[in-house]
């Protein structure tokens, strides 16, 4: 009986500590998101029952299709590119290279440079009259409008890599340092080649780290709206019109039904991704046992 009272007491204390966070979290996130879900299924007319009209409108809207497709393709291409690059760099840095800590600092620094501070540099490089076109011109090729053509996604990809490569390197380094050195020594004794060691030791044991990095990289790729917006304003070239642009326009026209539906669709998309990643990681841990 005494244990019971102690457990009650601990729960009471826990809720007291939790209260400020829980109240704010419920007020600004949980409750309004619940309402979002409801609104997304409500008709616009008074007294109308539940309907899928908002979703139908959303999926039929050409700007939503454009924004969703652009965001999806940008993420689908940039995340694997970034991950391969940062893994390669992390593996190099994990050797006993000189100046290792300095190099790590240099790679991470772009992450903390505010997007607005560096936009001028991107313009100097990629503008119609910019450095890249000057070089292009010297080589006898015709100028490109890098930011206002299909090349714009490539420019964004470069900025994305510039900004987030260091972040992923830190995470990969932590993962690499957790792989026991003996595994490689045993593999050496068994005469395993470098490719086999890479596949069967390094990549295998990095699976949990990689799962996490994929998730963080996807989230970071959505944040590229900042650079896009600061570089091109409210109405960028079609190719880089992202979900956040679409949502901003919906906020401006206060179309709360479509906004709610769009938020729910994105939430479901992220949940699906998390579920897949979670499965991958579980499959990995059962394989390890």
């Amino acid at each position: 009986m005494k244990m019971h009272r102690l457990a009650y007491k601990e729960a009471g204390v826990a809720f007291a500590f939790l209260a400020p966070s829980l109240i704010g979290f419920a007020v600004f996130y949980l409750i309004p998101f619940g309402q979002n879900i409801v609104i997304s299924f409500q008709g616009r007319l008074e007294g109308e029952g539940l309907t899928l009209a908002s979703y139908r409108e959303l999926f039929q809207s050409s700007s939503f299709q454009k924004a969703a497709a652009n965001t999806f393709w940008f993420t689908a291409i940039s995340v694997p590119t970034l991950i391969v690059l940062s893994l390669a760099l992390a593996m190099l840095l994990n050797q006993r290279v000189f100046l290792r800590n300095w190099l790590r600092t240099a790679y991470v620094l772009p992450l903390v440079v505010p997007a607005a501070s560096i936009v001028m540099v991107w313009q100097i490089l990629f503008d119609w009259n910019g450095v890249l076109n000057a070089i292009w011109n010297d080589w006898g090729m015709s100028r490109q409008d890098w930011i206002k053509s299909d090349w714009a996604s490539l420019v964004l990809l470069l900025i994305y890599i510039w900004k987030y490569v260091g972040y992923n390197i830190i995470l990969f380094l932590a993962g690499l340092q957790n792989i026991p050195e003996q595994y490689y020594e045993i593999a050496d004794l068994e005469g395993a080649g470098p490719v086999r060691k890479l596949l069967q030791i390094t990549l295998t044991y990095l699976t949990p780290t990689t799962v996490l990095i994929v998730l963080m990289s996807v989230l970071n790729s959505f944040k590229m709206f900042r650079e896009t917006y600061l570089l091109t304003g409210d109405y960028p070239y079609d190719r880089i019109y992202m979900m956040q642009h679409y949502m901003n326009n919906m906020f401006l026209s206060l179309d709360i039904h479509k906004l709610s539906a769009a938020a729910v669709v994105m939430a479901v998309g992220i949940l699906a991704l998390v579920a897949v990643l979670f499965r991958t990681e579980r499959a990995f841990s059962s394989f390890m046992e």
């Binding site: 729960a11 826990a14 939790l18 400020p20 829980l22 007020v27 600004f28 996130y29 949980l30 409750i31 309004p32 998101f33 979002n36 760099l89 190099l92 050797q95 006993r96 000189f98 100046l99 190099l103 600092t105 240099a106 790679y107 772009p110 903390v112 440079v113 505010p114 607005a116 501070s117 560096i118 001028m120 540099v121 991107w122 100097i124 009259n129 910019g130 450095v131 011109n137 510039w162 490569v165 972040y167 830190i170 932590a174 949990p208 989230l219 959505f222 709206f225 900042r226 600061l230 979900m243 956040q244 949502m247 906020f251 709360i256 709610s260 938020a263 994105m266 939430a267 992220i270 998390v274």
Partner: protein, 284 residues
């Protein structure tokens, strides 16, 4: 890799890549030391598609000058006002989120109560949602509370962001329960244990949280675009892109002044920053 020659080659390759990554920052700093006249001469053709001139990118100023800095800081009062907006909003969010989160993280990481794990899972799911999802519920509540177009519209939802709770809980899990048990034997209550055992041990976690939150909110763009109509309330991030169009001559100094606090904080607290990133990467 044990061959020293290979190691040297590797190092050179890595240094070359680091130089590429740092070049944009270095270019901004170099340009901020040029006179306005030189900036205009080098870059006035930016954004003009009818011009056939190319920009003249230089790594050494003709004449090192602090003219841009004095113009930005002394002559344009709007710059300092918006700078203050950025400072005020970031500082409120950081202090608020750290305080609220450390309490909640103690409950999640060190206490037992019914519904703990499902509740924490909700926090986790919210944390991995991108802005595009969370801004809509934030907006609805901020609108209902009549806070739109005020600092609170940005500060309040951010204070209750889930990231701080998650990160500090990770740190709390590493604190051995034996410390708490020992304090309990000495007759300390929960609040006492929190204050004198847990809080001192979780200080590095709070430092890490502060750096990571600052990096995020100092750079905010999405929220002010939606929540703040009044241009006078905007943080510097939104305004800088306008300076770049209207007052090209001083924009590099403005950029440097904007990035300096973040870069200095990062360089001085780098171990905490790295630890924070890595711990937020360990599965909880």
């Amino acid at each position: 890799m044990k061959n020293p020659l290979m190691l040297l080659l590797c190092t050179f390759l890595l240094i070359a890549i680091a130089a590429f990554l740092l070049a944009p920052v270095a270019l901004t700093v170099v340009n901020s030391l040029m006179t306005e006249r030189e900036i205009m001469a080098n870059y006035r053709m930016l954004g003009k598609s009818d011009s056939s001139l190319f920009v003249n990118m230089k790594w050494i100023p003709d004449w090192v000058s602090f003219q841009q800095y004095s113009n930005v800081l002394i002559e344009t009062s709007v710059f300092l006002r918006l700078y203050w907006n950025s400072v005020y909003m970031s500082a409120s969010i950081i202090v608020g989120q750290a305080a609220v989160s450390v309490l909640a993280a103690f409950a999640f990481g060190k206490l037992r109560f019914p519904g703990r794990d499902p509740l924490f899972f909700l926090y986790l799911i919210t944390m991995v949602m991108p802005f595009q999802v969370t801004l809509v519920p934030n907006y609805m509540m901020v609108d209902r509370l009549g806070l739109l177009n005020s600092y609170s519209s940005i500060i309040l939802p951010s204070v209750f962001g889930a990231f701080g709770v998650f990160l500090l809980r990770q740190f709390m899990l590493h604190i051995h329960s034996a410390y708490m048990e020992a304090a309990r034997m000495d007759g300390a209550g929960y609040f006492r244990i929190f204050l004198s055992v847990v809080l001192p041990m979780v200080k590095p976690g709070i430092a890490a949280l502060v750096v990571l939150l600052f990096a995020d909110y100092w750079n905010m763009v999405e929220q002010p675009l939606i929540f703040l109509e009044d241009p006078g309330l905007q943080p510097l991030s939104i305004f800088l892109s306008r300076i770049q169009e209207e007052a090209l001559g001083v924009s590099f100094a403005a950029s440097v002044v904007y990035m300096i606090p973040m870069v200095l904080l990062f360089l001085s607290a780098e171990p905490y920053f790295i630890q924070g990133v890595q711990l937020s990467g360990v599965k909880g």
